[in-house]
C-alpha cells in the first residue's frame, strides 16, 4: 500500500505544467485531486516516475458566467460545483450528479477535470457532461484546442487528451430552466454506479421541447441515449411518455458484466431508471 518512488513537481501555471509534461522522465502522470490516481499508485497498478500536481494552478479553478456559457475550471472540486449557484441554475443535471459522488471527503478533493480525464465508465460526471453538450478545452505545447464532449471520450480510461496536454476548462452551454435528474443505481451508498441515467429536459407549453439523456456505465464510455431523446421531444410530459421513452433506453448500449450484474440486467436497469429519471426531471 506504499507507492513506488516517484519525482514530484507542482507547477503554478499551465505553461509550466506543460513544460513539466515534456520532460524526459520515463512515465509522467498528472495529479488532479488524486481520488483515483492515489489508490492506483498505492496498489502499484501504476508506477509513474514523475507526478505533475496541477492542484496549485490558480487559473484552473473557478466557475464563471460567460454569457450563454458556464465555464468550469478543470481543478474545480466536486464540492465547489455542488455548492455553486451558477451550476445549480444553468447545469442542474451536473449539480445533481455531483452530489451522488462518493462522500464529502472525496468531493472536497476530487476535481471535475480529474474525473473526466480519468474516464472511468462508472464515473458519475461523464454522462452529464456529455448530455449537456459541453466543450472541453485542452492545452498543449502548441496552444489550446477545443473538443466536443461527444469526441472527448475514446474508450475505457482513455480520452483525446494527449501525453503532453492537460484539460484546462469545461465550457457548458447554459441549460437555464431545464428540469433534470440523475438516477443512480448502487447496492451500497459508497459504490461506483452499477449504472446511472442523467436526464435534462425542457418543457415549453405542455410539451417536452428538448431532451438530453446520458448513460453511465452502459458502455466503455459514457453514451447518449439518442433514441430516448427522440422519443421524448415533442411529447407531453406524462408517465406514458416516460415509459415509452424508457423502453428504448438500452438501444446502442454495450454494458459490462461484473459481480453486480450482467449486461442483460444492466440493459433492463437502464430502462427502469430512465423512466424514473424522466419523470423526476419533468417535476424538477
Amino acid at each position: 500500500m506504499i507507492p513506488a518512488a516517484f519525482d514530484y513537481t507542482a507547477p503554478e501555471s499551465v505553461a509550466d505544467a506543460i513544460t513539466a509534461l515534456g520532460s524526459d522522465s520515463e512515465e509522467i502522470k498528472v495529479l488532479a485531486g488524486g481520488q483515483s490516481l492515489i489508490p492506483v499508485l498505492r496498489l502499484r497498478l501504476a508506477a509513474p516516475t514523475l507526478l505533475v500536481d496541477i492542484g496549485r494552478i490558480r487559473e484552473l479553478g473557478g466557475i464563471t458566467d460567460e454569457g450563454n456559457t458556464l465555464v468550469i475550471g478543470a481543478m474545480t472540486t466536486h464540492a465547489e460545483m455542488a455548492d455553486s449557484e451558477l451550476v445549480k441554475e444553468h447545469a442542474s443535471l451536473l449539480a445533481k450528479a455531483v452530489e451522488t459522488v462518493a462522500d464529502p471527503q472525496v468531493r472536497h478533493r476530487g476535481t471535475l477535470g480529474g474525473a473526466l480525464v480519468h474516464a472511468d465508465p462508472a464515473g458519475d460526471l461523464l454522462a452529464p457532461i456529455l448530455a449537456l453538450d459541453a466543450e472541453l478545452v485542452v492545452a498543449g505545447a502548441d496552444g489550446e484546442r477545443t473538443v466536443a464532449a461527444a469526441d472527448f471520450f475514446e474508450d475505457m480510461f482513455t480520452t483525446t487528451v494527449g501525453e503532453n496536454e492537460i484539460l484546462t476548462r469545461i465550457r457548458i452551454p447554459k441549460h437555464t430552466g431545464w428540469g433534470s435528474h440523475y438516477e443512480k443505481f448502487t447496492r451500497v451508498a459508497q459504490q461506483w454506479s452499477i449504472i446511472a441515467v442523467g436526464v435534462t429536459l425542457k418543457v415549453d407549453g405542455g410539451v417536452i421541447s428538448q431532451a438530453k439523456v446520458g448513460l453511465t456505465n452502459m458502455s466503455s464510455t459514457p453514451i447518449r441515449a439518442s433514441a430516448v431523446e427522440q422519443a421524448l421531444v415533442g411529447q407531453a410530459p406524462t408517465a406514458d411518455t416516460a415509459s415509452r421513452a424508457a423502453a428504448v433506453a438500452a438501444e446502442g448500449t454495450n454494458p459490462p458484466t461484473d459481480t453486480n450484474g450482467d449486461a442483460n440486467y444492466r440493459r433492463h436497469l437502464a430502462k427502469v431508471l430512465t423512466g424514473r429519471a424522466v419523470q423526476a426531471a419533468v417535476s424538477g
Binding site: 496498489l43 443505481f185 447496492r187 451500497v188 451508498a189 459508497q190 459504490q191 461506483w192 461484473d258 459481480t259 453486480n260 450484474g261 450482467d262 440486467y265 433492463h268 436497469l269 427502469v272 431508471l273
Partner: protein
C-alpha cells in the same frame, strides 16, 4: 415436526485454520434450535478446495445452523399453509419446559420464547405489516413487502473444558482473573479475557465495584500483555462475561475471604461475627467496622497481622463453566423489494434479545447493533466471489461490499430477561447474537416479499441482480429451484484433494432423545 436430518457439505478452503473443522461441529448442536424434534441426524462432510482457507467468523457454526433451520421453518410454514410465526410457536420449547434437554444433547437452562416474541411482535407492528403486505400483494404494487422471522437461540460462553476435549479441541475453555488490592486503595483487575473493543474495562470494573464495594473509578482493568496477564484463553464465542466475568467474581470473593480473618483480627472480633457489605467488614450488631481499602493499606504495612497471615489481599481464580450459555431472541425484519430493479431495502428491523441479566446495557446495545450489521451484510451485500479457476474476484472493498450506516435502517432493539441458572450473575453471552439471528431474518423477509410470485429461495447475498433474475424466471413460468438440498449426491470426496473427516452423524447428534452433556461426543 417429527425429525430433522442434516447433511452438511462444508468448504474448508485450502488449509485448516485454528478451529476450521470444528465450526460445523458447533453448528451440529444448533440445527434443532428452539424446536422440539423427537429425532435428529447430522452428517457432515468437510472438503478441501482451492479457495481461501476459512476459520471462525463471528458466530462460527451457529449462524449456518440458524440460517438453515429458520429458512426451513418458513418453507415448512408455506408448505402447510400457516403463518411462519405460528409454526414456530407450535414447535418451540415452552417456557415451563425449561430446563430442557435437547435432541442434540444440550441442556438449555432457561428461556422464554413466548415473552421475547410477544414483545418483538408488538414493537414491530407485526399484524399491521402483514395487513399492509396483503394489501400490496392484492394491488400488485411494484414494491412488495416481506416479513422475515428469526427466533434464534445459540450455544455460547465457550466452553466447558471437558466438552471441548470431547470435541477434540486443542485447548480448554476456562478463563483466568486476578485482583490486586493496592495500598493506595486502588484495585487492579487482571483478566485473561483480553478485550479488543468489547468494553471489558468498563464491565469488569462494574462487577468488581459491586462485589468489593470499592469505587468504580478506583478500579483499573489490565489485559493484553502476557507480562501482565500471563494466563487466559481470550475473547471469543461470546464467553467473556459468562466465563471471564465469573473468574473475576471468583477472584473478588477470594479477596474477601482472605481479608476476613485480618479484619476480624483488627476489629478484635470473631470471623464468624463479621459480615461484608458495601466494601466494609462489620461486626454484626455493632458499629464496629473496617473498610476493605483500609485493610489493603494495613496488610501492606503488615504491622499488625494475625499469626501466619501473609501480607497480601491479592487473589487469583480460574473459572471453568459447567454448561454453555443459551441466549435467544426474536428478530423481525421488514423488507421492501422493488420488483422492477430487484433491490431489497430493509424498512424495519426489530429484535428482542434475551441474554439473561445485563451488566452494561450500552455495551450490550453496541454488540447487538454491530452484530446485526454484520449479519445483514451477509444477507444482502458481502460475498467472496471466485471465478472458475478459484481466483478471488472480490479482492478489494470496491467489489466486496461492506454497508455503512447510510445503507441500513435504525434498529429497534429491546430485551426480555430470563436469567441463566448456571452462573451467579444470571448472565448469557451476547457477542454473536446479532450475526446469528439477523441473516435468516433478512433472507426470509426477501423471500416472503416475492413468495406470492412463485419464488421460494434466493441465494445469499440477495443482490438486486439475483432477486430480479428470480423474478424473471418465476414470471416466465419456469420452475424455480426448490430450496437446494444441502448435499449433492454427485459430490465424491475422492475427487477432492483431501477430506477432513468430521462426521458426528453416528455420535450423539443422531442419538435417540437427549442424553445430557456427557453424550456430546
Amino acid at each position: 415436526m417429527t425429525g430433522l436430518k442434516v447433511e452438511l457439505l462444508t468448504d474448508m478452503g485450502a488449509y485448516l485454520g485454528l478451529v476450521t473443522p470444528g465450526i460445523p461441529i458447533l453448528g451440529a448442536f444448533m440445527f434443532n434450535a428452539i424446536y422440539k424434534f423427537p429425532a435428529y441426524r447430522f452428517v457432515c462432510t468437510n472438503v478441501f478446495t482451492n479457495k481461501n482457507w476459512t476459520d471462525a467468523y463471528r458466530g462460527a457454526g451457529r449462524p449456518e445452523a440458524t440460517f438453515a433451520i429458520e429458512r426451513l421453518m418458513d418453507e415448512l410454514a408455506a408448505e402447510v399453509g400457516v403463518d411462519p410465526m405460528e409454526i414456530r410457536e407450535r414447535n418451540w420449547i415452552k417456557h415451563d419446559e425449561f430446563p430442557f434437554s435437547t435432541v442434540a444433547g444440550l441442556e438449555y437452562d432457561s428461556g422464554n420464547y413466548e415473552a421475547a416474541t410477544a414483545k418483538a411482535k408488538e414493537l414491530f407492528g407485526y399484524d399491521a405489516l402483514r395487513a399492509e403486505q396483503k394489501q400490496r400483494r392484492e394491488a400488485g404494487d411494484t414494491v412488495q413487502l416481506g416479513i422475515g422471522i428469526s427466533t434464534f437461540t445459540e450455544m455460547c460462553g465457550l466452553a466447558p473444558s471437558r466438552v471441548l476435549g470431547a470435541l477434540s479441541y486443542g485447548a480448554g475453555g476456562w478463563e483466568h482473573a486476578s485482583i490486586r488490592m493496592l495500598p493506595s486503595g486502588k484495585v487492579e483487575v487482571i483478566t485473561g479475557s483480553s478485550a479488543h473493543g468489547q468494553g471489558h474495562e468498563t464491565a469488569w470494573s462494574q462487577i468488581v465495584a459491586d462485589r468489593l464495594g470499592v469505587s468504580f473509578d478506583d478500579i483499573e482493568v489490565l489485559h493484553g500483555d502476557t507480562q501482565i496477564s500471563p494466563r487466559g484463553l481470550d475473547t471469543y464465542g461470546s464467553r467473556s462475561l459468562t466465563v471471564g466475568g465469573m473468574a473475576v467474581i471468583a477472584a473478588a470473593d477470594k479477596v474477601i475471604e482472605k481479608a476476613k480473618p485480618i479484619a476480624a483480627h483488627l476489629l478484635e472480633a470473631n470471623s464468624d461475627d463479621l459480615e461484608f457489605s458495601a466494601g466494609k467488614f462489620n461486626v454484626k450488631g455493632t458499629n464496629s467496622s473496617v473498610g476493605l481499602t483500609d485493610l489493603a493499606l494495613a496488610v501492606f504495612a503488615a504491622h499488625n497481622l494475625p499469626d501466619g497471615a501473609e501480607p497480601s489481599l491479592d487473589a487469583e481464580a480460574t473459572f471453568d463453566p459447567d454448561n454453555f450459555s443459551f441466549p435467544h431472541g426474536t428478530h423481525l425484519c421488514a423488507v421492501e423489494v422493488d420488483t422492477e430493479t430487484g433491490e431489497a431495502k430493509i424498512r424495519n428491523y426489530t429484535c428482542v434479545d434475551d441474554i439473561g441479566k445485563v451488566v452494561n446495557p450500552l455495551i450490550v446495545e453496541g454488540q447487538v447493533h454491530g452484530g446485526l450489521v454484520q449479519g445483514i451484510a451477509q444477507a444482502l451485500f458481502e460475498e467472496a466471489v471466485y471465478d472458475d479457476s478459484g481466483t478471488l474476484v472480490t479482492g478489494s472493498f470496491v467489489d466486496y461490499l461492506v454497508p455503512s450506516a447510510a445503507d441500513l435502517p435504525n434498529f429497534t432493539t429491546d430485551r426480555t430477561e430470563s436469567p441463566s441458572t448456571t452462573n451467579v450473575l444470571g448472565v448469557k453471552g451476547v457477542g454473536e447474537a446479532g450475526t446469528i439471528a439477523s441473516t435468516p431474518a433478512v433472507v426470509n423477509a426477501v423471500v416472503d416479499a416475492v413468495r406470492h410470485l412463485g419464488i421460494n429461495d434466493i441465494e445469499m447475498p440477495c443482490s438486486p441482480h439475483r432477486i430480479w433474475t428470480a423474478l424473471q424466471t418465476a414470471s416466465s413460468g419456469a420452475d424455480t429451484p426448490r430450496t437446494k438440498t444441502m448435499v449433492d449426491d454427485d459430490v465424491n470426496p475422492s475427487h477432492n484433494a483431501q477430506v477432513s473427516g468430521t462426521d458426528a452423524g453416528d455420535g450423539s447428534a443422531a442419538a435417540q432423545g437427549s442424553n445430557g452433556q456427557g453424550g456430546l461426543a
